[in-house]
Amino acid sequence: MSDSLVPVTVLTGFLGAGKTTLLNRILTTDHGRRYAVVINEFGELGVDNDLIVDADEEVFEMNNGCICCTVRGDLIRIIGGLMKRAKKFDGIIVETTGLANPAPVAQTFFVDETVRGRTRLDAIVTVADAKNLPARLADSAEASAQLAFADIIVLNKLDLVSNAEADAVETRIRAVNPLARIVRATRADVPIESLLHQSAFDLSRILDIDPVFLDSNEHDHTEGIYSASFEVSRPIDMQKFQEWMATLLQEKGQDLLRTKGILHVAGEPRRFAFQAVHMMADGDYQETLAGAEEKSRLVFIGRDLNRPQLRRGFEACQVAA
């Protein structure tokens, strides 16, 4: 992962959750960094800033035979345009509308070579309203999808709930997405350093999360989206893994919102970091810290996850004992 790539933060969240407050904070705080902000409704922010780009969320389907492969063409265009500017940015923030499915934004960073050559997806940040999240989860499929896609979840409006309510909401978020980092906030008062330049797509921390926590079977099925995590101890046969994953994503990609993994590949000192958004997959070898455990872990977030089948599939990717 090259440092010359401009980090892109995707900001999602339901209307009224505090996304605009957070954006205003990013734009007006004196943090000494330049961020271009791509927004959907001009004037919404009330900040006059030449770094704000007015976009229409324009999604199209790729002609690659993959029905869930939808992409934001406007983002490809805007990122290309921003890269023409002489004054460079420290980062780009892309806001999505409250009802938007985050998948097309994320997939854009997998699909387009020009975008990949100049930027990297740093993190998907979802702003959730601690008071209203349970109601949103009950009445809209997008709410759980936005949680499922997130790398970081800002649990906002904590002043409106008790500690016990906040803990209960956090438990519900964990049931959908055990990997995301949750940051608690009131009036979106989050330190900006904790949201931007996170390299949240740097997956090595998956191994740091307590497996007991990931393997919680007490997920709340009312959302329909939950996670399943698997760990194996023998090294991975990369060819077997790629064949298995290619078939799996082809057949189940629509239900697999996000897949993340860290693999200990046979004969390779570095770890292989793998991730997918629906059917679009990506991965590369990362430098490994000394003393890292020689195990591999894979986490799926999605619908209708067949745990025994997924476990057997992953286990079969190990080299022979």
Binding site: D50, D54, D74, A86
Partner: protein, 347 residues
């Protein structure tokens, strides 16, 4: 134009080079061919007289990057637009004149058309194409289903074509109708060209392919096999070939003898593993100039398949390329801010 006696290092012997402060986003000549303009990522425009050793004129114009530039419909001057949403007319002798402000939307495309007494200027801002007359008065706004990603006038100035999601729209400019002829093909279309005899419209697509519609009957044409997206495409002056970037050679699709459907493209000036980034078709001959990702600049003659290296390369990709209207001069620019003018006239 004869290539036989061209010297080998043309840039050194016949070139004028300047290093500018930012990446060159577009270059073009005015209609008289007396001035070349270089548009930059810092919002400035640089006007270079083609004859003599006159100074280049620098104009700080846009707030942000200049995204589009074209010759004015008038004999001299240019129209320029940027991510500040402003469209200017610029001439060497007068103050820049603001024609239009989009109110926030980037203006990424401009085009113009001129004949003896009439002229048209067009720009694309968001989903709309705005048309202006020779005096800069707005004639009409044409609406599209999604953001317009390329515009082109036909050779007679009767029609304008606009690329967008799921195809292109072809508008009769004089028509009172609010609806264009829709050329449909699913997907994201990112650039457009019209055949000089209006036989076809071709778009570049997100999926590293071109799509064409034969104009009399709307029949589809598919042109695929590119390793990268085509950012630059144009027909040769006589419409026999469509030249395109997006491979490690100039890719030329034949538009004669039943082509391009079922015909392989002609590939010229291959530099193995180096992407061709810009092409420019000569206005009078079957010659194509091409710029590459390694800064190389090459001239290719289609009939003989001969190529001449104008510049071996440099540190930065060629990002802008244009011929003068009489075809004697070539202007180019790179992402690193190198701007050059080559005199290729017979001596």
């Amino acid at each position: 134009m004869s290539l036989a006696d061209a010297p080998s290092s043309l840039l050194a012997t016949r070139g004028t080079i300047r290093t500018l402060d930012a990446n060159v986003t577009v270059t073009c000549f005015d209609r008289a061919g007396s001035t070349a303009a270089f548009a930059l990522g810092d919002g400035s425009l640089h006007l270079a007289p083609v004859t003599g050793n006159g100074d280049w004129q620098s104009i700080a114009l846009h707030d942000g990057a200049v995204l589009a530039l074209s010759a004015d419909a008038a004999p001299t001057g240019f129209v320029s637009a940027g991510d500040d949403g402003q469209l200017f007319r610029v001439a060497t002798s007068a103050e820049p004149h603001l024609i239009f402000a989009s109110g926030g939307k980037w203006i990424e495309h401009v085009a113009s058309f001129a004949e003896s007494r009439a002229g048209l200027i067009a720009c694309a801002a968001g989903r709309q194409v705005h048309l202006f007359d020779l005096h800069g008065e707005r004639l009409k706004a044409l609406s599209h289903p999604s953001t317009v990603t390329g515009i082109a006038f036909d050779a007679r100035g009767k029609r304008i074509a606009a690329a967008h999601y799921n195809g292109a729209s072809l508008w009769f400019i004089a028509s009172k109708s609010e609806t264009p002829r829709l050329l449909e093909w699913k997907g994201s279309h990112t650039g457009i060209a019209i055949h000089p005899a209006a036989e076809a419209v071709v778009t570049a697509m997100q999926e590293n392919a071109l799509h064409g519609w034969r104009l009399p009957d709307g029949q589809h044409m598919r042109m695929s096999g590119y390793p990268a997206k085509t950012e630059s495409l144009a027909f040769t002056h006589n419409g026999r070939y469509l030249a395109s970037s997006g491979a490690d050679a100039i890719v030329l699709w034949p538009f004669f003898g039943g082509g391009p459907t079922g015909k392989p493209p002609l590939e010229l000036a291959q530099i193995e593993g180096i992407l061709c980034t810009r092409i420019a078709c000569h206005p009078k001959d079957e010659l194509v100039a091409a710029g590459y990702a390694n800064g190389a600049l090459i001239l290719a003659q289609i009939s003989t398949r001969r190529v001449i290296v104008l510049n071996e390369g440099g540190p930065s990709p060629v990002s802008a390329l244009a011929w003068s209207p009489d075809g004697t001069r070539l202007a180019f620019g790179t992402e690193a801010g190198l701007a050059g003018l080559l005199d290729l006239s017979a001596r």
